[in-house]
């Protein structure tokens, strides 16, 4: 028997009232002309890095595999342009670690790999997971977790609910918003396919209620008596409260189930997929074209013409920003991702990666941060924490390097969403302290 849909979201507490700043939601996405050069790091996912499968001087077609790995948790990397491999070098990624990268100079033709053809009809879970791997798909919401690992649900776990994550709770970012509006049919195609293969009879398309146009549009398409006679796929509006789109928060909002510590959505019968990921899966099944481009929101006070751009993966950030009219003023901070969880990068020469959904350039005023003052114990961090943690006590334990206290305060449950630091009137660097605390705990052999 099919599971009931709840009338209202289960979760109504916690989180931070972050302003939306969604300046680009009304602008149709534009396609970036092929760049002259792309830089493709071999690590664009969580898991083992790939090794280049091409050599300097090789000619490559668009969509050809150029990096792969034997490790299970990894995803192959494809070229996003056609041209010549000019260099195999190493680049510094956002986290500061070095990784191998393949540099390709464009021949300007964007010639597709002749070996690309639509995959054979997918019949079961293994084939679905295999297809996701061949496509190089990773979680496009920002985490970059290889999709085939997620889709290959262990046999002993039953999935009864699919949640399509279109919450998009990060300020500025509208890439998923535009995906839903421009590719709504694709999204639903992907949903019907995954639903059929995983034999799931309840699908939430979870969207924050600040996107009424998306809700209306997807409801229209989802009302499909032919594909979904039992009305098992429903658009589910959620309260607009950061971090609504975080996996654990989302699962609880939709199903009321709380994922136990250290467990995954599959442990409570749920599969969560980003809307762009599921839409991509549908187009891959139709065309066989692997993941080579990404819709990215370009915004921030230092960008002249904010917009959503469909970018070949590996394009240097600078090229994309130039396409958006260049910098309005001297940028002081450059972010990969939204302002709450995005990573500040050191240079605009770094390439756009698979899991990037935004690039934000902030001017001096916007990049300025509050000078930290003493904690006044107002408790705003406690109210804001979606995970029921006590950030101020965590910070104090980090200062004392008290790993036993960090363990007891369940530092590992923190997903670094930034709600606490956002809310803190004293401007304490709570997330930074918690990251440091996690490394202390790891070094001392504790479980994070």
């Amino acid at each position: 028997m099919a599971l009931e849909f709840p009338k209202h979201p289960f979760r109504t507490h916690g989180g931070a009232k972050v302003s939306h700043c969604k300046n680009t939601w009304e602008l149709p996405s534009v396609v970036l002309p092929p760049p002259e050069r792309v830089i493709l790091p071999m690590q664009q996912h969580i898991g083992a890095p790939c090794t280049p499968t091409v050599q300097k001087g090789d000619h490559v077609y668009l969509g050809q595999v150029i990096g792969d790995s034997d490790a299970y948790v990894s995803a192959p990397i494809h070229t996003s342009i056609s041209g010549t491999v000019t260099e195999i070098t190493s680049v510094m990624l956002t986290g500061g670690q070095m990784t191998t990268a393949v540099v390709i100079d464009s021949d300007g033709k964007m010639e597709r790999d002749p070996n690309i053809y639509p995959p054979a009809a997918i019949r079961d879970r293994e084939e679905l997971a295999q297809a996701a791997r061949s496509a190089g798909l990773v979680g496009l919401g920002g985490a970059g977790f290889p999709a085939h690992v997620k889709l290959n649900v262990p046999k002993d776990k039953t999935i009864d609910t699919l949640i399509v994550n279109a919450a998009e709770c990060e300020p500025y970012v509208t890439a998923d918003h535009r995906e839903a509006l421009e590719n709504g049919k694709n999204v639903l195609d992907g949903i019907y396919k995954v639903k059929e293969i995983l034999d799931v009879h309840r699908v939430f398309i979870a969207i924050e209620d600040n996107k009424p146009d998306v809700i209306e549009k997807l409801r229209e398409i989802a009302d499909n008596p032919e594909m979904d006679p039992l009305d098992e796929v429903r658009v589910f509006p959620l309260r607009s409260r950061y971090p609504q789109g975080a996996e654990k928060v989302l699962v609880q909002s939709c199903t009321g189930r709380q994922i136990p510590m250290g467990k995954l959505p599959a442990d409570v019968g749920c599969l969560v997929m980003n809307i762009a990921s599921i839409s991509f899966l549908a187009s891959y099944m139709r065309t066989g074209m692997p993941l080579t481009q990404k819709r990215v929101t370009i915004d921030g006070s230092a960008v002249r013409e904010p917009k959503n751009v469909i970018v070949p993966i590996g394009t240097p950030i600078r090229d994309v920003i130039e396409f958006c009219g260049g910098y309005r003023t001297e940028p002081k901070k450059l972010l990969m991702g939204g302002p709450m969880m995005g990573i500040a990068v050191t240079s605009d020469e770094l390439p756009v990666l698979k899991q990037n959904n935004a690039i934000l350039a902030f001017d001096g005023a916007q990049a300025a941060s509050l000078e930290p003052a003493s904690c006044i114990r107002c408790g705003k961090c406690v109210e804001a924490c979606p995970m029921g943690l006590v950030p101020t006590k965590l910070e104090k334990a980090v200062e004392k390097k008290d790993t036993a206290a960090l363990q007891e305060l369940e530092i590992g449950t923190c997903m670094e969403c930034g709600s606490c630091a956002f809310a803190c009137p004293a401007g304490r660097r709570l997330v930074q302290a918690i990251r440091l605390g996690k490394s202390y705990l790891r070094k001392s052999g504790g479980k994070v």
Partner: protein, 323 residues
């Protein structure tokens, strides 16, 4: 391109700062300050200014002397000054008020590390010290609207004293209590002004309603249970001021919802126990300070449950799992 700033996420911050929270508290205390000047005359204004000025100076000098970053700018010392003044009788000598301010800022606040670190409420503790040091002067009440200076003032009892010790016809009506037309400390008499300020703080989300509502409800319920008049108990003495402005002090009340409930219930019980059974007519200061001291213990038993943490299974002795 100049060097880019690289910092840890989040790269966004809410509009709240310590300073604008304190400004909100000062704004919320303004109705009570105005009411005190209307009810007790310009000497109330002198007392408030004295306390605020000496609190600012104490904070400034003590930070300087300790070679610590200056914190006068966060305005918390102004709040302490106002709160202390609102807890004094109008006839008090400004010199004593200065002494109280120094105690509040230097001894209670700065000696324990400054803002957020004090374990008891500075203004209330200073008031208690003044009460014990100058008991007669601290209970020298004048009637409302009697603006005459010094010792000529007609002394009067506060409503709590007149009701429960004298009874009698001189007791103010409920309406007079609500509007503050009766004897008492500067800021505690006008319940209306305090309510306006308290509501403002709740609407601005500076304080959560948990502590004031629970405190007042507990006190009212106990008052009824003890056969007293709950309405008069709520409106007289420092209960209103204490519930909205003192018990909600960030540094000295629990961080968590459950803890705040326990804290406020404790305050309510202690207040009524002191009022009914103690030798003092008033128990708000002592009850809040006592609960301040218990705050770390309350926090230990009221921690929120982290997301996804299973309720701890009770270990049964001799269960097979332990073998």
């Amino acid at each position: 391109m100049d060097k880019l700033i690289v910092s840890s996420s989040p790269h966004f911050h809410g509009k709240r700062t310590t300073q604008n929270i304190m400004l909100d508290v000062i704004l919320a205390l303004t109705p009570a300050m105005i009411a005190s000047v209307v009810i007790f005359g310009f000497r109330a204004a002198v007392l408030i200014l004295t306390c605020v000025a000496s609190c600012i100076l104490s904070e400034y000098l003590s930070r300087r002397l300790m070679k610590r970053p200056q914190t006068v700018g966060d305005l918390s010392c102004v709040v302490t000054g106002i709160l202390l003044a609102l807890n004094l009788p109008v006839t008090l000598s400004p010199l004593i008020a200065v002494f109280g301010s120094v105690v509040a800022i230097v001894v209670v606040k700065q000696m324990f590390g400054g803002i957020g670190q004090n374990f008891v409420n500075p203004a209330l503790t200073a008031r208690i010290i003044l009460m014990n040091s100058f008991p007669a002067r601290m209970t020298h009440w004048t009637a409302a609207f009697d603006y005459s200076a010094g010792a000529d003032a007609v002394t009067t009892a506060t409503p709590l004293v007149s009701f429960w010790q004298n009874g009698g016809p001189s007791s103010p009506t409920v309406l007079e209590l609500f509007l503050g037309a009766h004897g008492g400390c500067l800021g505690e008499t006008c319940a209306l002004a305090i309510l306006i300020g308290g509501l403002y703080l709740i609407i601005r989300k500076v304080i959560s309603p948990v502590i004031p509502v629970t405190y007042l409800a507990t006190a009212a319920a106990l008052s009824a249970l003890l056969g007293r008049n709950p309405l008069i108990d709520l409106l007289s003495g420092g209960l209103m001021l204490g519930a909205f402005f003192m018990a909600t002090d960030y540094a000295t009340s629990p961080l968590y919802f459950k803890g705040r409930l326990i804290f406020a219930i404790g305050c309510g019980i202690l207040t009524m126990v002191i009022r009914e059974f103690g030798s003092l007519p008033e128990g708000v200061s002592y009850s809040i300070v006592l609960m301040n001291i218990l705050t770390p213990l309350i926090e230990r038993i009221s921690k929120p449950r982290p997301f996804g943490k299973q309720k701890e299974q009770k270990k049964k002795e001799g269960s097979p799992h332990e073998a």
